[in-house]
Symmetry: C2
Subunit: 384 residues, 2 copies
């Protein structure tokens, strides 16, 4: 096992009705930025629930944070926060809204150009505290300090992270996910699944508990994910998906083990260039990456096959193939397609994707740092 430090400061408020706990967790004289996305929360009752618990606070609404939150939009929210002397951000939505809140929290009191936080790791302080009300289980953003921001203008999708922007609390009410469109449910399950894979499918370091935890989340997503599509009003199914997605990326399962994240880095370029959903990019890249890295990841792919998919046998090559196919089949069963062609991205576009990887310095990806531009091209060709 590798050395690690671990602490998670987010208080999880899990279950139906937990929104009631929010009022007691706001700062005194709260001046809240109520941040949300496209307005679906006005149709499903969440907006009203949140408004009710914010009654004693001064509230500034900011709507319109996009999936893959846009830098320009977030900078407008930064200005609104400054104008209204906001002292707390309540992010109501999925990973994009919460990621956006983190950037706003870091940028509000930042001297200089906030873009530097994303591109050159500029240091920031005096961040605003954040609370999250999760409506889309997927990214784990509600319980970690990571944020990804998109800038369409320059076709760049960049990440930053800090404990200081991790939410203080997160409301996880499974009923808040009942009205999600199937596409978002599918995306969420796949996103969480790949988060686990990025922290699990590397090379063994004799960390059996981390392996079992990762396999436990994968198992749960495999079983509950399809049910979330077929029986969308099943509270327990939604609860199990929600808790799995949080546990997939709250930092725990990746402690003491090597991590990969190449699928995410390559996927980010697909979103930046072609505006694909984040989970769609993962579903495209992961199976091909597993195939190209099958030798480096052999022990763990075989373990994944045996323990999670029940694939056993003496022919290692066949077990590897079957396991990779099982992952791809799961994505397709969750109604997310796994080839570039499925999204009308032609083979000749691969040059642009590789060029973007190079521009963003993504030239030595993966747990061994051995996914260079040539290998990335190989992965993308295989996914064509």
């Amino acid at each position: 096992m590798l050395n690690f430090t671990f602490k998670n400061r987010t208080e999880i408020l899990f279950g139906e009705g937990q929104i009631q706990e929010v009022a007691s967790r706001l700062p005194e004289n709260a001046r809240v930025l109520f941040l949300y996305g496209g307005g679906s929360i006005k149709k499903n009752g969440i907006f009203d629930d949140v408004s009710a618990v914010l009654q004693s606070a001064t509230v500034t609404e900011f709507a319109g944070v996009e999936p893959n939150p846009e830098y320009e939009t977030l900078m407008q929210a930064v200005q609104v926060s400054r104008d209204n002397q906001v002292n707390f951000i309540l992010a109501v939505g999925g990973g994009s809204v919460i990621d956006g809140a983190k950037f706003i929290a870091a940028a509000v009191n930042f001297d200089g150009n906030p873009w530097d936080i994303l591109v050159s790791g500029a240091e920031f302080s005096e961040t605003l505290p954040i609370g999250a009300v999760l409506t889309l289980p997927a990214t784990g953003s509600e319980s970690n300090g990571n944020s990804v921001v998109n800038r369409r203008e320059t076709a760049q999708k960049r990440a930053f992270g800090s404990d200081s922007v991790q939410p203080m609390f997160a409301v996880l009410d499974p009923t808040y996910t009942f009205s999600l469109p199937p596409r978002q449910v599918s995306n969420g399950v796949i996103d969480a699944f790949v988060h686990v894979i990025e922290q699990y499918l590397t090379y063994p370091v004799n960390a059996p508990l981390q392996d079992r935890f990762a396999e436990g989340i994968l198992h749960t997503l495999l079983t509950e994910g399809p049910k979330a599509l077929s029986t969308p009003q099943d509270y327990d199914v939604r609860a199990n998906v929600m808790w799995s997605a949080t546990m997939a990326l709250n930092g725990l399962i990746g402690k003491g083990v090597p991590q990969d994240w190449a699928t995410h880095m390559i996927g980010h370029e697909l979103t930046a260039l072609y505006n694909l959903d984040h989970a769609q990019t993962l579903a495209i890249v992961l199976p091909s990456l597993m195939f190209v890295q099958r030798e480096q990841k052999k022990t763990k792919i075989l373990q994944l096959g045996e323990r999670v998919f029940g694939i056993t046998g003496e022919d290692e090559g066949r077990c590897l193939d079957l396991t990779i196919k099982a992952v791809q089949d799961f994505f397709e069963a969750m109604q997310v397609q796994t080839r570039l062609a499925d999204y009308q991205i032609e083979k000749r576009s691969i040059d642009d994707i590789v060029a973007n990887l190079e521009k963003n310095g993504m030239t030595a990806l993966g747990e061994h740092g051995d996914i260079d531009l040539a290998k990335a091209r190989q992965i993308l060709n295989l996914a064509a």
Copy 2:
């Protein structure tokens, strides 16, 4: 799944050499109570490591916290802390030392008789912050707010708990466990194993992820526990046991599911009356409790058998028996005996144990509250 709130404030510092991180985590002008047990840390180098990182602090040593920490001893430490205006407690040891630190932290600024904290849930405030350096993986005390204190004078073993006495940080260095006597290694593995069982072996509430996590810890303890006895200098084995014991009782796996804890409550009386090791009491009580509660716990015992011990078959009764026996066999394989007679406790002593349960109000134990004094007697008779 049941509703829950979850937050864990302890920063885990895991791995060889992490003691170095302690200095930067002490308060300014630190006046530290350096609390430890019987002095084994003076033989294995841990005392020197700790002293080195405390160089810039004002340090008051307090040695002699017993296994099952004694109220009278801890009250002496409270006086020493007051006399020396201590503002931080560094607990170096196993669960007993850390549990003791929590009581001291709560009692130092308590107006009134601190015994009330243990027997009548008296409220306390202005607790001292605690750091832990773990030398015995077992109780999970390093990463939770629970404490159990013994009072031999009145044959009482009582618990209290509060987030405010949970350690701020915990150093988990597997090399610090290399010199543990085999009996303590065994006790620790069994203690952690039973902590998981208390939060898992109840009734199903459709919480598959919690089940998988619990089974993952049990698997790891079953595999690594015996290796910790046979190859005591194996770093990874010790690391895996250590991380498992922390995860067994840091609050996570019990969230959203019913919990039992009857084995612990009955076991506490065995320690209070006969001074048995805590783990010995668990090894005595659990198999018999499983047998007596086999109908109430049937679904989960069968799941434990199948997933953790590989016990399957059409005859449910036989699977139940084999699973209970597998648990008992594991305890015996870890060299901890499982019958009252093994510890020279005669059958007629059961009256005293039951009387003590009654005195302490332990008359409706377990996840259904259905373990009354008659059932407790039945369990103890079976364990005779």
